[in-house]
């Protein structure tokens, strides 16, 4: 069982577009100081940034929990948003329920969740309509996923 070394929790707020991305930047700085491999950092940052944008665009409130263990990095994004009706469909590239307003932000082209999955060594998406969505992503520190 991997041992947990560091855990951070961040609150995410709906429609806070200006702030979206700050958490990823903070996590990037922290991982750099810890001397984590730069490829691993790059993947973690993409996952966090996409997850941040997802919550900001679709959900009401959410939490991003970052956990560093001696083997990997786990990112869990839980929101109390509308939920996803068809999870398989949501993971298809190009499928999106974004509004024009979201597309104007440069997001909502159906790439967010697939991007998170692409950068994860293991990935899980659970959702219940009317309750919320939880995305978990694990990235191994040795880059041998």
């Amino acid at each position: 069982m991997p041992e947990e070394l560091l855990s951070r929790s961040f609150d995410l707020h709906s429609h806070d577009f200006d702030k979206a991305g700050e958490i990823s930047t903070e996590i990037k700085g922290m991982l750099k100081e810890l001397g984590i491999d730069s490829q691993v950092i790059r993947r973690v940052v993409v996952v966090c940034f996409e997850a941040e944008m997802n919550v900001v665009m679709y959900a009401d409130e959410g939490t991003l929990t970052f956990v560093l263990t001696d083997e990997d990095i786990n990112i869990e994004i839980a929101d109390c948003g509308p939920g996803i009706a068809d999870v398989d469909q949501a993971l298809e590239e190009g499928w999106s329920t974004a509004t024009d307003e979201m597309r104007e932000m440069g997001f909502g082209f159906g790439m967010g969740l697939p991007n998170i999955r692409r950068n994860s060594d293991s990935f899980d998406l659970r959702s219940k309509v009317g309750v919320g969505t939880t995305v978990t992503s694990t990235i191994r520190l040795d880059g041998l996923g």
């Binding site: 810890l34 001397g35 560093l68 520190l141």
Partner: protein, 432 residues
């Protein structure tokens, strides 16, 4: 942890604890405890910034004299090209050689050949290199140590070739062993150094192993006696050897801000001087910029090696003198080229080992690093962020990291301890 040799000592009795050196240190390697400055061994890159700014003269380069080489049967000076710009204009290179022989060297090495060989080898190396660019020069020991401390990833781009002084040291021994029939260890190859960093790199090469040179003497260590005999030789018009060691304009260029004047022009070459500039350029290289540069020469000293901390003359004056000398000289010299052609095919330029990163930031396993990070972040939140330096570290951030790694206590901060000011009053004998 490895012990790193350094080229200076801080004399505690002379140190006023003024913190000037601590603020000037580019790698934040100096702490002031109990009113005395101390350097953190593994962070110090021997740039000499502390030495230059110290107002009380407490920081001095460690230096050797010719007497330290008395056990050798034959002593050969390998003079940095910088030496030839340090004397009055009428004292020409051949007079300087005369002076070196007069003060006790048995021979003065024709270093121009090794410099030319190095340029050719660099050009070949660049033609063959298919790794990331730019390739970084190895000549300045401070730059190599900066890479080890702050840019470990760029060590891969460091040229895997010995610097010219090391090529010279090896050839000195071979040459005189053959000529005199002496064992190589009886022959001393002694570098006449323009900076204390080169002294350090000879005592302890960054890549490990042993230098081919037996040691070095800083220019000030021989200057007065060489000047006396050289001036005398100028007056009397008599010299012991009339062959000048400076026979081509390209050799002169080695003590200027753009040393590799003779690198073939299809190699895109950039030269940067001054440590703050070098740091900016390395930041850019780390971001993948400057990929279109083939060869990057960095010198920690502003305006290049001619401004090393063991030089005597003003850098601009010495360069002006060298340039007026270069005007009289041909671009290349047939005698040098002949020797280069003879040696080049068999010369082994390869650096046996690549310098390794110094274990500083990433010391300890991940668990330990995380513990320190958490502790440092927590502490930084308690500190005022003024970077006043009264704790004896250069900034609040550094104090937080020092406390986290057990090298300081939070009570060192005047804001967090009511006793700290009283303690400082006592140390600095301030009566209020």
């Amino acid at each position: 942890m490895a012990e790193y040799a350094h080229g200076f000592v801080i004399r505690e009795s002379d140190c006023a604890g003024c913190m000037t050196c601590m603020r000037a240190c580019p790698t934040q390697a100096i702490r002031v405890r109990d009113g005395k400055a101390r350097a953190i061994n593994e962070l110090c890159i021997d740039c000499g910034a502390c030495l230059t700014v110290c107002p009380s003269g407490a920081i001095r380069p460690t230096s050797r004299t010719l007497d330290d080489f008395a056990d050798f049967a034959f002593k050969v000076a390998v003079p940095s090209p910088v030496l030839f710009g340090q004397f009055p204009q009428e004292v020409r290179p051949e007079h300087i050689v005369h002076g070196l022989l007069a003060v006790g060297f048995d021979a003065v090495w024709d270093f121009g050949v090794d410099l030319r060989l190095t340029t050719l080898a660099i050009a070949d190396y660049l033609d063959r290199w298919d790794g990331p660019r730019p390739v970084i020069a190895i000549t300045c020991p401070v730059v190599v140590r900066l890479l080890q401390v702050s840019y470990p990833k760029l060590l891969e781009q460091l040229i895997r070739m010995k610097p010219p002084r090391e090529i010279a040291g090896r050839e000195v021994k071979r040459h005189y062993a053959r000529e005199l029939g002496l064992p190589q260890d009886q022959i001393a190859a002694i570098y006449i150094a323009p900076c204390q960093a080169k002294t350090v790199s000879i005592d302890q090469p960054a890549e490990g192993g042993r230098s081919t040179l037996d040691g070095s003497i800083g220019i000030p260590g021989i200057y007065n006696s060489v000047l006396a005999s050289a001036t005398d030789a100028v007056k009397r018009g008599e010299i012991r050897i009339d062959a000048s060691p400076v026979r081509s304009a390209t050799m002169v260029s080695w003590s200027t801000p753009r040393p590799l004047a003779d690198l073939p022009s299809h190699h895109r070459y950039m030269s940067v001087t001054g440590l703050p500039n070098v740091i900016r350029v390395f930041d850019d290289v780390e971001r993948g910029r400057l990929k279109h540069i083939d060869f990057l020469e960095c010198s920690a000293c502003w305006a290049g090696c001619g401004n090393g901390n063991l030089t005597v003359d003003n850098v601009y004056l010495s360069q002006a003198k060298l340039q007026s000398l270069a005007v009289e000289l041909p671009e290349t010299d047939p005698q040098t080229e002949a020797e280069v052609a003879r040696r080049y095919p068999d010369e082994d330029f390869a650096l046996e080992r690549i310098p390794e990163p110094r274990t500083t930031v990433a010391t300890g396993d991940l668990r330990e690093r995380v513990r320190r990070l958490k502790e440092a972040e927590r502490l930084e939140g308690l500190l005022p962020g003024l970077d006043c330096g009264l704790c004896g570290t250069p900034s609040c951030k550094v104090l937080a990291r020092d406390v986290a790694s057990g090298h300081a206590t939070r009570e060192d901060c005047v804001f967090l301890s009511k006793h700290r000011i009283a303690e400082l009053r006592r140390v600095y004998r301030c009566r209020m």
